[in-house]
Assembly symmetry: D2
Homo-oligomer: 362 residues x 4
């Protein structure tokens, strides 16, 4: 029976795999079972954040020491830059083992890779459909049949480069934007809507072309998307509950309505058996394996009736402000800041809020 293991390991730099190496040496991690690594790396999380690429290059090489390069290439590395405030740089490693564990339902992990996305589909219905298909495949991989049992979907999606745009244009195709930066937002947007469609949160035919990247009332409460230059298709990791899995872990999720809406997260923790009255106690903190969240400034520059200045600060990117602040709010709840808070939340939770997943020991 499959057992999902999740390892949260501190990183001392974007190329610090020493903690992972130690865990492998101790026998805690079997590298051949690693399906995905989510990293919080300490760059700016924006365009010129090289900490992500450095981390990916480092881990790709690291894991290829333990397995054939082809197998290492299947590991899904999702690097989210930006550890503002006191957010701790760290790796969250998702491993699939086999064995006899406690009877499920338990945390289940599924993975899918989609084919290459034609450039002209990026940001359009074609990408939504491709991602929705991929999520369904990943659910199958995880042994999850009911979409309600899915609690987090991490997508790594492609972007447009001058070369890819040129290739499409030479075929007579038209792309959604010629700006690489904008293509990242559109790709995340369409991917998130694809998750919403696959999970039944939205109907595909209720999404008009102009909704994508614009109508923030449409969203998934369980999607987390990031765009990367290194892939042409999508890498999809589904986290949920399945009775076909055993093991020590469980998962639930919440949707924050705004940047300080931590009570739904407390609720999710309480459903998982935490007391969570006030900040988590030191004992309860050990039960909490990982907290995964998205953060974004609200577009109307207001939070509960008061103005915020994140969108007007020309010295610090809005997403950097938002990650620091939301990490503070969540850390106040859970009692530490080794949390995965990622920016760029188009259609991932409501405007100014975002989905949060809680992975905990049963």
């Amino acid at each position: 029976m499959p057992i999902a293991k999740v390892h949260r390991i501190s990183a001392y730099s974007p190329d610090d795999a020493s903690g992972i190496a130690d865990a492998i040496a101790r026998g805690d991690i079997d590298p051949r079972g690693v399906m995905a690594v989510f990293g919080k790396t300490e760059g700016n999380g924006c365009v010129n954040d090289f900490s992500r690429g450095f981390a990916t290059a480092t881990l790709t090489q690291f894991f290829s020491r333990y397995m054939p390069a082809d197998d290492a290439a299947k590991i899904c590395f999702v690097m989210s830059g930006g550890t503002e405030g006191a957010m701790a740089p760290h790796w969250t490693i998702f491993e699939r083992a086999e064995g006899d564990g406690a009877a499920g339902p338990a945390l289940a992990i599924g993975r899918a890779h989609t084919p290459a996305l034609p450039a002209e589909h990026l940001g359009h219905a074609g990408q939504i459909a491709m991602v929705a298909d991929g999520v369904r495949t990943a659910m199958q991989d995880a042994g999850i049949t009911n979409a309600d049992d899915v609690h987090f979907v991490q997508i790594k999606c492609p972007l447009l480069t001058a070369q890819r745009i040129g290739e499409a244009t030479s075929r007579g195709a038209t792309v959604a934007t010629t700006s690489t930066l904008k293509s990242m937002g559109l790709s995340r947007a369409a991917s998130a809507l694809g998750v919403a469609v696959a999970l039944g949160e939205l109907k595909a035919d209720a999404i008009t072309p102009s909704d994508i990247g614009d109508n923030w009332s449409l969203y998934s409460g369980r999607a987390s998307c990031s765009a990367g230059i290194e892939l042409l298709g999508h890498e999809i990791v589904v986290l949920g509950l399945s009775k076909d899995w055993s093991g020590p872990l469980t998962i639930d999720h919440a949707v924050m309505a705004d940047a300080i809406d931590i009570e739904p997260v407390r609720g999710a923790m309480q459903r998982l058996g935490f007391a969570a009255n006030g900040q988590l106690s030191s004992a309860e903190r050990d039960k909490l394996v990982a907290l995964l969240a998205k953060a974004e400034p609200s577009q109307n520059a207001m939070l509960r009736g008061f103005r915020h200045t994140m969108l007007d600060d020309s010295d610090i990117s809005p997403t950097r402000h938002a990650r620091a602040f939301v990490c503070g709010a969540l850390a106040g709840l859970v009692g530490h800041a080794e949390i995965y808070v990622s920016g760029g939340a188009e259609h991932q939770g409501p405007d100014g809020g975002g989905p949060v997943a809680v992975i905990a020991r049963r």
Copy 2:
């Protein structure tokens, strides 16, 4: 009988006094009773933050329309720059009125101005003694006899400029530093220790010269200090409880041991009658008049065993990270972000933590 009134008013720019003008027009504020204004302004909170000076110039001129310039000059303007994360720019206005209110003890406000500080005393025992004296005078002004009844002391202290250093040197005196920036930190440090001495938190003779600005185990749990170029002495505002004051407000304080130590703040609110189980409800939020806090990154670059990167970020000043993050933690507790979180906390609370004052309706 004196009545303390505290008005929290949103600001739409550093020169936006319109909300104050409206409150005066409505009769909510009598400008002649205004003793102090604490402002959170939306600059970077560091060296080249002109939002503070712009706000001070604007309010000085604004209040002089309501009273003789000499009286307006007595108002203590404390401008704290930096509204990182979703922190809302706002003014907190402290007013002393006369009337019959509910029997005390109630919030009491006292103020003192010290003489000019000789430049050679800045950062040394002479400044500690001068501030301690000033705090005692402000306590008298507030009608507070027991230091335990003091819950927050806001100090505006001087700094060294090339001109002031030159004047001192020409007299044969020696200054603690020739760096204006360092003099700001030393002035805040000695001022905070002066508060600690006045409030009985530390004995003056237990502070060695080398402790000032260096030994962070010595601190006041109630001091909040900022340095300004526009004054030569100190402006001191004491907030506490006195049975000689009546009115609708009360105050308590807490000391955060680190950047996410919000449980003591919850405790202070509960002592003031808040339920505060989880985030404040909308109703309780109305009872909370003002939250005043200090924030700083811990010097060992760790928070509860995990690394933070605030001290190593050459793109964003550490104090900007800390304000965003701590404001997030406190906003998660109180349910909004119109909070006064100020950086630069030398000897103001323990390393990485800081004092927090809660002003609430009784």
Copy 3:
């Protein structure tokens, strides 16, 4: 006969008018003759740059000590934020005096204020026409009849706010954008094209609606525009040569084709009598009264075949990079960095380059 005087005065902070006060006290400046002040202030030059408003508020109040408030209100204050690199914060003061000076042609200064711009005209042909009219009026004020004698036109233009958009919408009008930030760029763009039309650089009917803010092959080689929230119409200052003016000053201009194209500027100086072989000598530096320039990163991210990273830096705004770099190139030529280099150069010179005016003693 009118005499144009130009005073370049260092500023030690955005609210430092002491140098101007000294010049008035010495009799160098007659404040009642001041027509305009161009300021380089030390903010970030972007959205949240309060150094500009602080400077304008300070100078408005300063000059009203010397003349009726109505007259002070006619002075055109153009504050350009951002003194990156070694650029020196300073004021350039344009004064019109009367007297007998050397026979012209000499530097001539003209000024015009347009009516309020209807919000729906911003960024459209209506704004181009209004600015073109205003430039012609300012030329008349300067006594310049031939457009070729105009060497620099500084425009301060309005922007859209939520309130102005709302007022227009309620009238059934449609605005070009609902984003305040975008409206600043469109207003600068249409204003620059208005200058080009007035000076005969472009024909009004050759500019299509979609050219505005997009087709960078259309530009004025003499326009410099900045948008400000404090006005509803346009303030226009024309600098040129007129034989109806006498006095000690002259002017010429050049267009830089890219960020390091300093040879045309050297050429303009040589036409004005400078040797300028290599960097200006100390003696020639005294002849140079003011250098006014625009700077912007090229949109294709290339400079003479090599990549620049200004557009991809999420930590520093592209305009800040460009001002520092172009100021370095120009300072290498003229031998100091008290230069007015302003960013945001839509249709002001070619993409990546910009107009430069040289004001010098005859």
Copy 4:
């Protein structure tokens, strides 16, 4: 007879070795002859600049595909972060070939690795002596006997980490500082003084302990130093002229007295046969192979009598300002911005200025 080849190759990201690979494929570069690579990478050039480590990791791996790992490890990689303004990210590759070229004197390259520096010697006379010895060894390697023939010395020097400090302390030794950041400055400072001693610019016994990192009147006009965590000793590259080398290249140097002192650089180019009257022509630009410079803001915050704001900007590090500005000044002279301008110039040229090397075709 040895022939020095220098290849300047554009980089499209910190991990872009494709241009080098192409040059190897074309036969322009023989990888086995590569002695050193100087890189300008597009990070912030400060503490958390991961573009440097990413580049070093990438190139180390890249070259080990062409030679045994031991040989690849001997290549000296000097990565200087920060391509502010329009500075182009690029690699400068120094290769030693053998063959019959034009008779010398020609550009000569020498290299040396010192032993590990005891932590207690960092920033002290011991480091000066060790570097001076290393420079002499590198001169021998280059076949340069007269120190006047040395025109540039690039040093990569170690820094102190907590671990290294702890090791030294446990031996009873005392280190110069416990701050990693400060140790970088002290290491660069002592290294530069070591170069000055080796080249006869300073006498070792004229340098007092307190001069190191403080007395900026002592400097080398030919040193360029950067500190890196990845080494314990020093890597030293000497560039100069030797009649024992043949080949197409030559070198000279200049010392800029301040940030815009480009005339000495023009002078060096003219000594090498450039006309350089005004900006280099397109033809002369092809003769210029590489320009290597150091940049720093002057500590008195003045440039030729006017204030600069680089030291007071809490949003942008002073070194970032300085690199953008100095690159602009030099690019205005040479006609492009693919220039190596490096910050952190302790004792490397006078305060506010710096050494510049010109490598050109003969």
